[in-house]
C-alpha cells in the first residue's frame, strides 16, 4: 500500500500540486486521471521519488520515502516497476537485454536463471518471439509490452504505468489494459495508472483519483464515476460524445 499525505509540489513559482492526500491499495488498479497539465504525472514522479515535494510525505507500507537514506531508497526502488509513456526502453539493447537489465544490476541469480526469468516475463506479455529485436524495430504496442516485461522482471511490489495507452490503437489499448489488470491480480502489486483514457478507466479502474488544477478533486470507483455530480469531473469524462452514450445506456439518463 502507498499513502500520500499532504503532498505539494511547485516548480519555481508555479504551484503544480497542492495538498494531495490519497491511499493506493494493494492488489488493485489505482488510477490517477485528469486533463493534460493537471499534475498527474508530476504526482506519480513525486511518489516514485523522481521529484522531491516541498511539503508532504509518501509512505510505502507506512515508511516515509523521503526520510529514507540512500540505501533504503535503493531497496524500495528495486521493488518498483514502471511503464513509461514512451516505454523508455534502452535503444542500444535488444528486447531480451532490456528485460535482463534490472536482473543483471540487482538480482542474485545465475546467468541461466536470469535468462529464464526474462523469458518468463516476455512470455507473460506474449512477445517472447521478438526477444532478439531492438526497440526501434517494434511497434508502439510491442514496446509497451516489453516495458511491462521489464517492469515486472524483479517481481515488483509496486507497479506504475504512465499513460500506458497513449499512441496505441483501441484494440492494443485493451490488450495492455488487460495485461496490467491481470498482472496486478497475479502478483498482488499496488498498481498506479496515470491516464486520461476513459476506456481504460472504465475497463480497469478500481480506485480512481481525479486531479484538477493540481488538487485532488474527486475520488471513487468506476461505478461512481458516471453518477458523480462533480462539475469538473463531468466536464472531463463527458467531453466526448461516446461517454455520454455509455452513461445513457447504463443509467438511462443523459
Amino acid at each position: 500500500m502507498i499513502e500520500v499525505k499532504g503532498l505539494s509540489k511547485r516548480f519555481g513559482t508555479t504551484q503544480v500540486l497542492t495538498d494531495i492526500n490519497a491511499v493506493f491499495q494493494k492488489g488493485k488498479v489505482n488510477q490517477i486521471i485528469g486533463k493534460s497539465g493537471s499534475g498527474k504525472s508530476v504526482l506519480a514522479k513525486c511518489i516514485v521519488g523522481l521529484h522531491v515535494p516541498e511539503e508532504g510525505q509518501v509512505l510505502y507500507e507506512g515508511r516515509s520515502f523521503h526520510d529514507m537514506d540512500r540505501d533504503e531508497k535503493k531497496l524500495i526502488r528495486q521493488e518498483i516497476g514502471m511503464l513509461f509513456q514512451g516505454s523508455a526502453l534502452f535503444d542500444s539493447l535488444t528486447v531480451l537485454q532490456n528485460v535482463l537489465f534490472p536482473l543483471q544490476m540487482f538480482a542474485t541469480m545465475s546467468k541461466s536463471e536470469m535468462e529464464d526469468r526474462a523469458h518468463t516475463c516476455l512470455k507473460r506479455v506474449n512477445i517472447l518471439e521478438k526477444d532478439h529485436l531492438f526497440p526501434a524495430e517494434l511497434s508502439g504496442g510491442m514496446q509497451k509490452r516489453v516495458g511491462i516485461a521489464r517492469a515486472i522482471a524483479m517481481n515488483p511490489k509496486y507497479l506504475f504505468c504512465d499513460e500506458p495507452n497513449s499512441g496505441l490503437d483501441p484494440q492494443t489499448s485493451i490488450v495492455i489494459d488487460d495485461l496490467i489488470k491481470e498482472i496486478t491480480e497475479e502478483f498482488g502489486t499496488t498498481t498506479i495508472v496515470i491516464t486520461h483514457d476513459m476506456n481504460s478507466v472504465m475497463e480497469t479502474g478500481e480506485n480512481i483519483i481525479f486531479i484538477h488544477h493540481g488538487r485532488k478533486w474527486w475520488e471513487g470507483g468506476k461505478d461512481d464515476l458516471l453518477n458523480s455530480d462533480n462539475k469538473e469531473l463531468n466536464e472531463f469524462i463527458f467531453a466526448g460524445g461516446l461517454m455520454r452514450q455509455v452513461k445513457k445506456a447504463m443509467t438511462g439518463r443523459s
Binding site: K73, I80, M82, G86, A88, M105
Partner: protein, 246 residues
C-alpha cells in the same frame, strides 16, 4: 542558472558519478565498449588530421625561418616540438571535443528526453555513475594512445611533406627530430591529454544529463558541450602549461 549554479551542479554530478557502482563487472564491460566507441572509432580522423597537421607545420616552419643563418635540421626540431608540446595534445583534444563530446551529450541527452534516465533511477540504478563513469574512464585511458599515434603521424607527415617538396632533406629532418629531445615533454603532453579527456567526458555528459525538452534541446546540449569543452580545455591548457613547463 548562473555560472556558480552550473559549477555547483557539475560538482554534485561528479560526486554522484564517482559513488560506488552497483555491479563493477557491468561498469567494466561498459568501459570497454566506450573505449571502442569513443577511442578506437576516432583513430581514423585523428590519424588523418595529424598527418596533414605535421605536413603543414613543416612547410610553414620552413617558410618562416628560411634564412642561411638557421640550420636545416631546425625544421624537424620545430615540427617535433610543436607537435609534442601543443598540436597533438591540444588540437586533438579540441577535435575530440567536437566528435566525442557532441556524441556523449547527444546520447545522454536523448536518454534524458526519452525518460530512459528516469527508468534507470526508478530501478535504483545510479544513472550518473552507470552512464558517465565508463565514458570518463574510457576517455582517460584511450586518449593518451590516440595522442601518441597523433604525435607519430604528425612528425611522419612533416617528414613526407618536407622530403617530397624538397624543402628539407631526409637526413636534416631526422637529425632535427632527435636533437635536444626532452622525455619530460612527452609526460607533459600526456598529463594534458588525460586532463583534457576528463574535461571532454564530464562537461559533455553534464550538458547531456541536464537536457530538458525534446530533440531541439538535445541539439542545443550537443553544441554547448562542444563549445564549453573547448573553452575549458583552452583555459586549463594555459594553466597546465604554466604549472608544468615554467
Amino acid at each position: 542558472m548562473g555560472i556558480i549554479g552550473h559549477i555547483g551542479r557539475y560538482a554534485l554530478l561528479l560526486k554522484e558519478t564517482f559513488s560506488r557502482p552497483e555491479r563493477a563487472t557491468i561498469y567494466w564491460r561498459r568501459t570497454l565498449e566506450e573505449m571502442d566507441l569513443l577511442g578506437l572509432k576516432s583513430l581514423g580522423i585523428v590519424g588523418l588530421l595529424s598527418f596533414f597537421m605535421g605536413a603543414v607545420i613543416t612547410i610553414q616552419t620552413k617558410t618562416n625561418i628560411d634564412s642561411p643563418l638557421i640550420q636545416a635540421w631546425v625544421v624537424g626540431f620545430a615540427t617535433r616540438q610543436s607537435t609534442i608540446l601543443e598540436f597533438s595534445p591540444t588540437i586533438i583534444a579540441l577535435i575530440l571535443a567536437g566528435k566525442v563530446g557532441s556524441n556523449i551529450a547527444a546520447e545522454i541527452g536523448s536518454m534524458r528526453v526519452k525518460e530512459q534516465i528516469d527508468a534507470l533511477d526508478i530501478m535504483g540504478v545510479n544513472s550518473a555513475g552507470y552512464l558517465i563513469l565508463p565514458k570518463i574512464l574510457a576517455s582517460m585511458f584511450i586518449n593518451p594512445f590516440l595522442v601518441m599515434v597523433s604525435m607519430f603521424l604528425s612528425i611522419f607527415g612533416g617528414y613526407i611533406a618536407g622530403t617530397a617538396t624538397g624543402i628539407v632533406g631526409s637526413t636534416d629532418y631526422l637529425q632535427g627530430i632527435q636533437t635536444n629531445f626532452i622525455p619530460y615533454h612527452i609526460t607533459y603532453a600526456l598529463i594534458k591529454t588525460v586532463v583534457f579527456a576528463f574535461i571532454i567526458a564530464t562537461v559533455s555528459a553534464y550538458q547531456g544529463y541536464y537536457t530538458q525538452g525534446g530533440t531541439r534541446e538535445v541539439g542545443i546540449s550537443s553544441t554547448k558541450a562542444v563549445v564549453y569543452s573547448n573553452v575549458v580545455i583552452l583555459i586549463v591548457n594555459y594553466a597546465l602549461t604554466q604549472l608544468l613547463l615554467i
